[in-house]
C-alpha cells in the first residue's frame, strides 16, 4: 500500500491534519490504535468558543457541545473564593468522544482512509530517511509506503522518538485523574472551578468542570509523588458535600506535558503535532484547540510539500514557522505563569486571593491592574516583588 501522507493518531491533531491534507489533494491514511476513536477520553473537555473554532474554519456541530462556560471560580488554600465572570460565553464544555469522532468523520468525508485498531509499530527507513510505517492491524503486520508521516500520537510520543526528535520537554508532565460524576449539585453550573493548595493538589490543582444536567468532570493534577493523584482525588471529593454522594460514571486518567514545545517539530518526511509536539498550554493543560490549529497547518503544509515533490525538513519547516507564529508567544507566557504559580506557597496564594476577593476581576485587570499590585504590596511585599520579577521574566 502506498500513501502520500500517513497520520498516526486520530485525536484532534491527527484528524484535523488528515482532513486538511485530503482536502488539499493528498492520498491520506489515518491510523488509530484504539478500537474506538475518542474513547476512553483523557480530557476535562473544556474548550474555547465555537467562534474561536470558526476562525480556523472548523464548524462545531451542536451535538458535541454539552454546556456553556461563562467564567472561572478559584478557591485559595484557605477557601477564599475569587470569581472571574463574563456576561458572554468564554468557552464550551464538549462531549469529547463525540468531538473526536466528529473530526474523524470530517477527515473521512474529505477522502482520508481511516483504520482503527491499527497501531504504528515502527518507522520504515530507506537511505536513512523515513519511507513508510510498519502497522499492526487486528494482529496482522504489514508495511505502508508514504512520503510524509504526521506524528499525532499524543503524550506517548513514540513516533517522534523513533524519528530522533528530542521530546524531553514532554517528560515534564502532571499526573491527572478525573471522575465524570453525575447527580451532583453545583454552585454555579456555568463556572469552571479550580481549587489550589498543597493539601488539595501539591504542585497542581483540582477542578470541577460542569457539563450540565447535574454532571461534571471532577479532577485533579499533581506533579507525582508518594501519594497518587487517584488518592488525592478521592480525598478531595470526600471533602466536598456536593460531590460526596455523586455517582462516578467514568474514570479518566492521563498525563499533561507542561514543559512547553519540543525542540524541533519537523525532520525529513516527518511532522509532529499536538500533545506529542508539546502544543499544550502549560498553565491550563488545555490542548484541544492548539491540536486542531496546528493539525490544520500540518495537513496543509504536508499536502503542498507532497505536490511540490519536496518533503525535506527544509520544506516542512514552513509548518514550524507557522505554528510558532500562531501560538508560541502564548505557550511561553504559559510557561512563565506556571513557574510562578508552582513556586507560590499556600500563604501567598491566600494573600493574592484576599486582594482579589469580591472584585470585578475582569474589569480590574483591564482598567486598573496597578491597584492589584499596590494592594498586594501592602499585604505581602515579598510576594509582590517575587511576582513582579517572575512575570517580567527577570528570574527563571
Amino acid at each position: 500500500m502506498e500513501f502520500d501522507i500517513v497520520v498516526v493518531g486520530a485525536g484532534p491533531a491527527g484528524s484535523s491534519a488528515a482532513r486538511v491534507a485530503a482536502q488539499n489533494g493528498a492520498k491520506v491514511l489515518l491510523l488509530e490504535k484504539r478500537q474506538e476513536i475518542g474513547a476512553p477520553k483523557r480530557c476535562g473537555e473544556a474548550a474555547p468558543t465555537t467562534e474561536e473554532f470558526e476562525k480556523l474554519g472548523v464548524k462545531i456541530i451542536s451535538q458535541v457541545i454539552r454546556n456553556e462556560i461563562r467564567g472561572y471560580s478559584f478557591y485559595s488554600p484557605k477557601g477564599i473564593n475569587v470569581k472571574v465572570v463574563w456576561d458572554h460565553p468564554v468557552g464550551y464544555m464538549l462531549e469529547r468522544k463525540m468531538f473526536d469522532k466528529f473530526l474523524a468523520i470530517q477527515a473521512a468525508q474529505a477522502g482520508a482512509q481511516i483504520m482503527v485498531k491499527a497501531r504504528a509499530i515502527n518507522l520504515l527507513k530507506g537511505n536513512g530517511k523515513i519511507v513508510g510505517v510498519k502497522i499492526n492491524h487486528f494482529g496482522e503486520e504489514f508495511d505502508v509506503d508514504t512520503k510524509i508521516v504526521i506524528a499525532a500520537d499524543g503524550v506517548e510520543s513514540k513516533i517522534a522518538r523513533w524519528a530522533g526528535l528530542n521530546s524531553k520537554s514532554l517528560r515534564d508532565a502532571t499526573s491527572n485523574v478525573q471522575f465524570e460524576m453525575a447527580g451532583i449539585e453545583l454552585r454555579d453550573p456555568n463556572l469552571i472551578e479550580f481549587y489550589f493548595g498543597s493539601k488539595v493538589a501539591p504542585g497542581g490543582y483540582a477542578w470541577i468542570f460542569p457539563k450540565g444536567d447535574y454532571t461534571a468532570n471532577v479532577g485533579l493534577g499533581i506533579r507525582g509523588g508518594q501519594t497518587t493523584a487517584f488518592q488525592y482525588l478521592k480525598k478531595f471529593i470526600e471533602s466536598k458535600e456536593n460531590l460526596r454522594n455523586g455517582a462516578i460514571i467514568e474514570v479518566n486518567v492521563g498525563a499533561t506535558p507542561i514543559g512547553g514545545p519540543i525542540e524541533k517539530t519537523v525532520s525529513d518526511n516527518l511532522i509532529a503535532v499536538g500533545d506529542t509536539a508539546g502544543h499544550i498550554n502549560p498553565v491550563t493543560g488545555g490542548g484541544i484547540y492548539n491540536a486542531v490549529l496546528c493539525g490544520i497547518i500540518a495537513g496543509e503544509v504536508a499536502a503542498k510539500a507532497v505536490q511540490e515533490g519536496d518533503t525535506s525538513e527544509t520544506r516542512l519547516f514552513e509548518y514550524e514557522e507557522r505554528w510558532k507564529k500562531a501560538i508560541l508567544t502564548n505557550l511561553e507566557k504559559g510557561l512563565r505563569i506556571k513557574s510562578v504559580l508552582e513556586k507560590m506557597s499556600d500563604e501567598e496564594l491566600d494573600a493574592l486571593a484576599e486582594v482579589l476577593e469580591g472584585k470585578d476581576v475582569v474589569r480590574l485587570f483591564r482598567e486598573d491592574p496597578m491597584t492589584v499590585f499596590i494592594e498586594l504590596m501592602k499585604r505581602s511585599p515579598k510576594l509582590s516583588i517575587k511576582l513582579l520579577l517572575d512575570l517580567s521574566g527577570f528570574r527563571k
Binding site: 490504535k33 499526573s175 485523574v177 497518587t228 498525563a255
Partner: protein, 61 residues
C-alpha cells in the same frame, strides 16, 4: 523490573510519556515493558496517576 497492576491500570499512557528510555509501550489496553531498555529508574512508578506501577528493586542489576 517494574510490575504493572493491570487491574488498576487505566491504560492512559502517562508512564510511556515520562519514561526516559522509551522502554514502555501502550498496546491499546495494556503496557508492555522492554526490559532491555528499562533501567529501573522508577520515574513511571512515581508518576502513575493510579499507583499501578511498582518498582521491584530486588531484581535490579
Amino acid at each position: 523490573m517494574i510490575q504493572i497492576n493491570r487491574e488498576l491500570c487505566t491504560y492512559c499512557g502517562g508512564c510511556v510519556c515520562v519514561c526516559p528510555t522509551g522502554a514502555l509501550e501502550l498496546i491499546e489496553t495494556y503496557v508492555e515493558v522492554d526490559n532491555e531498555k528499562c533501567n529501573n529508574c522508577g520515574i513511571c512508578s512515581g508518576f502513575c496517576p493510579m499507583g499501578a506501577i511498582k518498582l521491584d528493586r530486588t531484581e535490579a542489576k
